[in-house]
Amino acid sequence: MFAYILKRLLFAVPILIGVNVITFALFFMVNTPDDMARAQLGAKQTTPEMIQSWKVENGYDNPLFFNGDASGFGKIQETLFVQESLKLFVFDFGQSDSGRQISADIQERMGPSLAIALPTFVIGLVTNIALALLIVLFRGSRLDTITMMVAVAIMSISGLFYIIAGQVLFSKVWHWVPISGYTEGWEGVKFLILPILIGIFAGIGAGMRWYRSIFLEEMSKDYVRTAKAKGLSDIKVLFGHVLHNGMLPILTGVVVVIPTLFMGSLIMESFFGIPGLGSYTLDAINAQDFGIVKAMVFLGSVLYIIGLILTDISYTFFDPRVKLS
């Protein structure tokens, strides 16, 4: 088990290096340190000397990929690419344009992000699976058809609509919850209810259809026919057999998402004024703060890869046929 996890972690290294190459290409080759210096120093006449001193001050004075001045191994090591990548691997993201430590900001903002993302995910998952099981009981009936039509309609409405409509109805017209804001602890629940509910509702259409199709596929398998031939009721077949066997395809889609919950939601957080990582990223994009965007890209990739590894491990718990090797 331990050896397997270690092996998977080693597989992740080349992928992370690849991610690094892509972000580096995007952020340093297009927006060179010279451009950054010019942007930071302002649009006034910037002399080459000023740019050079800014680069030295901020540690951007090495060449991009190959350092001809250095000797031996330093030819590769003393370059911007290696220096920047190494910093990322120890989660040292440097400073944002406003001079704050990005790593500290990220740690601080993970909490609020999770406060929304985790309940949305868990309650949403349970609701979707429960509704899908319920609708599978009525498969082929008129209720099934109508529910699926409604599900398609829910899927077809832009997520922005749910947020705006929700804010207008529940906050502006009925004054049930505050429009936006955030506080720590139980006080903050009143700020979280609306975004969580909206998140769940917006996901119901797609989720219900997805789980329904998984369960329907299981229902057409031989073991279900056998179980029914034994005289088991529909409900017993569904909860005793289909749910358990359907866990495997469900896990594939679900486990990978769990680590990325930390990243928060761009839109939800900015609409509801939650100081999480989503709104952090969005503000950085609008302010063109490349340091933060770069950090978030790297963090997102790391979390996704962790999700992939977790998926593989979770298989062993639900499917004894899968052997870790």
Partner: protein, 470 residues
Amino acid sequence: MSFVWLWTDILVWTLVLVLIGAVRSIRRSEHVRKQWFHILKSPIAMSAAIILSVYLLFALLDSVHFQYTPSSTSSSSESSTVSVHDQGVLSLLDVILPHLRTQTERTYSAPFATHEYSSSLSYDESGSVFQVYRPLKFGGQHLTGKHSTLDDVMVKTAVPFLFSCVFIAIIFTIHLGWGFLQTRGNYIDYYENQPKPEDELPWGAAYLTLFLLVFLFSWFYYLSHFYHVLGTDKVGQDVLYQAIKSIRTGVLIGLLTTLVMLPLALILGISAGYFKGWVDDVIQYLYTTLNSIPGVLLIAAAVLMMQVIISNNSGWFGSTEERADLRLLFLIFILGLTSWTGLCRLLRAETLKISQVEYVTAAKSFGLSPFRIIQKHITPNLMHLVLIALVLDFSGLVLAEAVLSYVGVGVDPTTASWGNMINQARLEMAREPMVWWSLFSAFAFMFTLVLAANLFSDRVQTVLDPRRNN
């Protein structure tokens, strides 16, 4: 007047030509024709297909641009107000709907309003200040006070209703006549060759959808001569005009992105599945890496970088239209680059499966080149997967445009798009009472397109996906 071909125009017309070519070659294959017949046999799919084609029609009309210089003699009475708007690059759609573009108000007005939405300060002769709701320049100015707006609209609804009835009647006649001509006017043949009801396409649903669409459009068109049917926005532009102009952006993003991602997914997916070994490893590494970067962030990073390039090289672009167009093209490109991984993975798995089948082994032992085997034996068997993925992706891309515009990495702010409309209108939600019509129009237009696409893709999936058939 000279034609202006923007990059996206060229691409979308190329795509149309490719589609026409594909349809012509497909018509020859009995099997595929039966599949499409089967898809369209569902009334819902038929209606969805008609709605999609109408959206496509608008997008295509809006994709023929030309430089328009008005002749100074033609418009005499309104020349002073109109000529300002008439310069620059226009599309065919602008020419069809000239009044929507030119009849702008000073600021917000509600749908069917006759006066401005917010009061403004005014002075009378004695110099005292009071608040008035100023009358609009164009909206409802034909009303003389005898009729209310509602009565007037009711009366005016008759015209588009009659028009659409006549229109449908003409189409129906042509339809009947065409079927009749196919039997060379022989009555007996005609009646004997009538297909059985179960072999007939759902023409009832088709005509109903077409009628509703024609009626809706002609109603909007006719009434927009007298009112701002969907109101006006902050700078007094007609919201209906914006919503219609946004169709092009939405449809193009949905269509052209697939054009970018399809070759990537096909070539890489098939090579990985067929050649295996190190090719497979490299391609798998490539898509796992790309996939692991959160999509929105990758797009955001790329668009931010593009903004840097554009601001550093502002000399590249002749006009704002060209700049906006290149930005749209770039966005499409980035969306394509980030969305091929899913399809690629599917195609790889399917190719792995197919290349184990006997007829491929047989072809190999006959000494066919890998290229021929892929072309003749593998690609045709992957087409259903490709088609399902394409129609599935379309609606997602249309919705993504709105979100990206909200994040600030979408299309150029000067491009008409539903995302931009929502983004601008969102700031007005705090107003009391609310300015709701911009949001409503953008969401309604988007919802119709996405719903139609989703329903259609559902049907395509049911018919083409072999796993769903049992």
